[in-house]
Symmetry: C2
Subunit: 114 residues, 2 copies
DNA sequence: CGGTATCCAAGAAGATACTG
DNA sequence: CAGTATCTTCTTGGATACCG
């Protein structure tokens, strides 16, 4: 989902969705944004709930590779790592907001009760 | 991707991406929109290019189930089936437009040459 | 605390052939 | 024309255990 390897990106829409379409990506970006654009690994893990460390790390690495988030490591013990949105990542927030609003509306229409 | 089964939708963002995050969904909706909101199965297939009929049909069915597109069958031989966006689907167009623009910008930044 | 490593299950997508 | 059916492959995601 994060690599731009040989298989061609046929259009900008595909390109974009490859970057933000992963299972937790949009939510992660949203959570970071909502917390004043700084969020630690552990906080993120707790907020997402059912995510394995492997998945979380992998997702964060992909977002980083795609220049959507920054990863800042503090050289201390115990370790501390902070994630924040890049400028590019920030540019996606209005869209996430829009989509989230759309989603909420649909969920209500369907009387979604999960 | 299309069913709202037991696994809970943890938030609206996830809900939305489940519905439009499939490999071809966003593009299909965009293509339909661009063609004055009416597109036949065969046209769609040609526009997408590398998609098997199975995948195309499956994707269209999911979009239909999620009330994002309409499927209109003409009772004639040879068959004719037209797909169009529903009101709900239409509401996503501005979002797709913006995300596409964002994607194009990123692609240029990276000198993407696919 | 913030991860890795390994192995395995589930689901999405492709190839290919056929049909009303 | 607009699909189905079947089988296979590929990609994602999860379980579990361990590490600096």
């Amino acid at each position: 989902m994060a690599k731009n390897n040989s298989d061609e990106v046929v259009c900008a829409l595909d390109y974009a969705f490859r970057r933000i379409g992963g299972k937790h990506k949009a939510r992660i970006m949203w959570y970071i944004f909502k917390k004043n654009n700084v969020l630690r690994y552990g906080e993120l893990k707790r907020m997402i709930g059912n995510i394995t460390p492997k998945m979380l790390t992998q997702t964060l690495r992909e977002l980083e590779e795609d220049k959507l988030i920054n990863r800042k490591v503090y050289a201390q013990v115990p370790p501390k790592v902070e994630y924040s949105l890049t400028q590019t990542g920030m540019e996606l927030i209005p869209f996430l907001d829009h989509v989230g609003a759309w989603g909420r509306k649909q969920m209500e229409k369907e009387n979604y009760t999960a």
